[in-house]
Amino acid sequence: MTSSISSSVISPRSSAELTALESSFAQVVEALLRQAESGEFLTVKLSSERSQFIRFNQAKVRQIGNVADGSLKLTLIRDQRTSYRSFPLTGDLEVDLQQAQLALADLRQEVSQLPIDPYLVIPAGTSTSHDVHLGQLLAPEAVTSTVLPIVAELDFAGLYAAGLLVRGYADSSGQKHWFATDSFALDYSLFGTGGEAVKGTLAGSTWDTEAYKTQIEESKAQLQLLSTPPKQLSRGQYRTYFAPAAIAELVGMLSWGGISEAALQQGNSALKELRRGQKRLSPRFTLKENFQHGLVPRFNEWGETAPIELPLIVAGELVNTLVSDRTAKEYGLAANGASGSEGLRSPEISAGGLAREQILAALDTGLYVSNLHYLNWSDRPTGRITGMTRYACFWVENGEIVAPIENLRFDESLYRFWGENLIDCTNFQEFVPEVGTYGGRQLGGCWVPGMLVEGFTYTL
């Protein structure tokens, strides 16, 4: 059993909304679980947000608004068969209970028609947790007058997203989890007159105007560096330094046909050759899941709690994969608290020995890549990834920035850039927040160093 309560400064508005939401969730869950019949198992999962979104362009407001959303996912398991219904949680108990009853009745009618599922995960255990992280966000009506005057003379574009995010879970075996966080993310770009750009992200639970001003000043200084004419490079292999934001993009690929045990078992993983010992990664490359940071819930869709840390690749060797309970059942393995999709939830790559002030000197001559864009597997079985450089990327000669570059396409195997060609990682990590908002604001982010790589392949 795990149980924890933590809180920082609680904003009264979020606190009231949260209390009402938790009460709604509890009442609907109680009504549903009371109806579980013998031989039936029920799980209930909540995802909810109260968000303000402001989209900016040219340091002006393009769109502004608020979204109050929340949905429950009810799963019924009976006779080795399962199905789910997802429906809104509105906070109106009468409406919500009616939807819940309809969903349960509908599920009972459907489940008996379905094929037997041999890898079904039946909820078990009695673990509970309660994590609340409320903060100090800008008042909604104060955001534009706080954010925009500081960038009024700049070509500033981006999104400010803020508010309360909640994830909840309960099941018929007695597990119950609650995770709530007040947070904001300002994801922005500054553009120069020639279309050159730098990117910045400010995220957290407490807005700090001074930190925002400082970051904008740093972004402006970077933009100044981009004002010289860009250097055109021909295709070829170049020694390259990847800043942490670029590494975060590459790490993201491991959640898509990478570190998943199911993907490995089913022949769909790019790490197949690493698993078989046919290829190696660099002893300088170490990856783990680290939930110590506390920005994402540790419980998954079956109420299982992930270990606080899970080493995945240690000194280039694959020591663990992400194994969901469902995959464990199918292949006779032990689960390790992974989610059903077996993607990374709180990844961290270990730091190395390269000091920040030594980066350009160590790069010597080559490319300084701040960010990458639109990655995809170009040949998954060999771990080959294609994508584009983006934002402030530079040509460096003899340890000095010479000029920005025109964006380049790369096509390269992770067995090379995280393997034989990885020279070193920086001795610092940066937190790269998850700012995605598909289907709702996402949680967490990753902790990654920069990396220096020999002979990285650029193709167009």
Partner: protein, 479 residues
């Protein structure tokens, strides 16, 4: 619902210049089977109302999943306050003319209702599809999935708009993975979720389905012993199931006016197309005719009105290779002073409408498939997308396909695996040298086009004939 929303508008007491309510009820069912065993079964309902308020030339929105009057009033009040706060920072003085009064309705054509097959019956078909895909012991994984959706939208406004639209859609994905030692090849039914259309359950069990699915399994095995696609510059022939991606990424996105205006720069990017290019830019060869056409019956993204109530019509975007108009809403058209189309669309009730392609089609030419291949001395014919990437200005791209055939002396010869190609957008489209006729013209699409801040996933339709492009860089796999 229309009358309830109209009453809600009448009850809202705000000094606004305009008010609009867009309600959405979206029920989607997902069924997925792997190796004949169930993976996913379930149904999701999302419903709610997007309230838009115009004040001082600025729109604000409040979205709520509660349909109660007091929730709508609270959302409207929030929207009003947001608009008021932002009005001194407004990027564009919005007018009521950008939300014209319109009354009408639309419904997807269908023969068999979506409810005509039960979940059990759908699962039976999916299991049988997996069995059909497994043509050999070398098939190590089979999968079959169906996504069935019914979306209803209601739009009312303070200037008298009343629109109801109902969309019935089906998207399917069937695939086989084959393995021989270290070689792994995956083949699917025209690419991931490319089979997506509007209609009823008649789309699920088509007469040709079983033969097509068997061929998917056979081609997965065939790829195991195929040669790697050569690295060369040659004539590239693309099937309509890859043209869908080519049109989407290198024509659709760069022509979105909000990208050209810079709204999208912080996320997906801008465009190499500039405002002065409209009416001037030779985008492709004279064979290239692209239409924005939400009127094609059964195509995935057909509708009669966009999500701001603007009537949808067929328009030429590129005619005889020359760029004529962009993909932009009334707001974007007003901001740029350029012609656009009825394409303000939102993924659901909880997102504001933005510029989106809907059905974006390449019109057919006159050549039969045999005539096209017969005209090519050396080339590669590729089918079904498996990898996609393009830069933030939609200029440099690299795409990969599942299956290819070598073309030698006017004949399709050897099968090729891991086929990829790359190029730059205008150069590529200007190399369009042959265009298939109506018999080669096929409808495909995607339910997962991502864009916007906050992010939105939306459904798009793309139809095209078989196309040939000269002197394109192609290459194979391997590190």
């Amino acid at each position: 619902m229309i009358s309830e929303l109209s009453k809600a508008i009448a009850a809202l007491d705000l000094p606004a210049d305009w008010l609009g309510l867009r309600a959405v009820k979206d029920t989607s069912s997902t069924y997925a089977v792997r190796d004949g065993k169930p993976e996913t079964n379930g149904k999701s309902l999302t419903q709610g109302v997007m309230v838009e308020v115009l004040v001082n030339g600025q729109l604000g929105y409040g979205a709520t999943n509660s349909l109660k009057l007091e929730s709508l009033q609270a959302a409207a009040k929030t929207a009003y306050q947001q608009a008021l706060t932002a009005s001194q920072w407004s990027i564009h003085p919005t007018t009521v003319a950008e939300r014209p009064k319109v009354v009408g309705q639309y419904s997807s054509p269908f023969l068999k209702p979506l409810q005509s097959l039960t979940a059990g019956e759908i699962n039976e078909v999916l299991v049988k599809l997996c069995q059909t895909l497994k043509v050999s012991d070398q098939i190590v994984q089979t999968s079959a999935a169906a996504h069935i959706r019914e979306i209803e939208t209601w739009f009312v406004s303070s200037n008298g708009s009343e629109v109801y639209q109902k969309f019935l859609t089906l998207a399917t994905d069937y695939a086989a993975t084959a393995q021989a030692g270290p070689v792994v090849q995956r083949r699917s039914h025209n690419g991931w979720l490319a089979h997506c259309h509007q209609g009823g359950m008649e789309l699920f069990l088509t007469p040709e389905l079983w033969a097509e699915v068997k061929q998917v399994g056979e081609q997965a095995v065939e790829l195991l012993s195929a040669e790697e696609c050569p690295t060369t510059a040659t004539t590239l022939v693309l099937d309509p199931d890859q043209m869908l991606l080519q049109i989407h990424e290198s024509v659709g996105h760069p022509l979105e006016l909000d990208r050209i205006l810079g709204d999208e720069r912080n996320y997906a990017g801008g465009s190499f197309v500039k405002p002065k290019d409209f009416g001037e830019l030779v985008y492709g060869s004279p064979l290239m005719n692209i239409t924005f056409d939400p009127t094609v019956p059964g195509e995935f993204s057909s509708y009669s009105f966009d999500d701001t109530g603007v009537p949808a019509t067929r328009e030429y975007v590129i005619r005889d290779g020359v760029l004529e108009r962009g993909l932009g809403s009334l707001e974007s058209q007003a901001r740029l002073g350029l012609p656009g189309v009825a394409c303000a669309r939102a993924t659901s009730w909880n997102r504001p409408a933005i510029d989106r392609m809907a059905n974006l089609n390449l019109e057919p030419g006159n050549a039969s498939f045999e005539e096209m291949i017969g005209n090519i001395e050396h080339g590669v014919y590729m089918q079904s997308n498996r990898s996609w990437s393009i830069d933030d200005q939609r200029h440099k791209f690299q795409f990969g396909c599942e299956y290819a055939k070598l073309i030698e002396n006017g004949q399709l010869t050897k099968t090729l695996r891991n086929p990829n190609y790359r190029g730059t957008t205008p150069q590529f489209w200007r190399s369009l040298s042959q265009l298939g006729d109506r018999s080669t013209w096929k409808l495909y699409g995607s339910p997962v086009c991502g864009k916007g801040e906050p992010n939105q996933t939306i459904w798009v339709g793309h139809a095209a004939p078989v196309c040939a492009f000269t002197n394109i860089e192609v290459f194979g796999g391997g590190a």
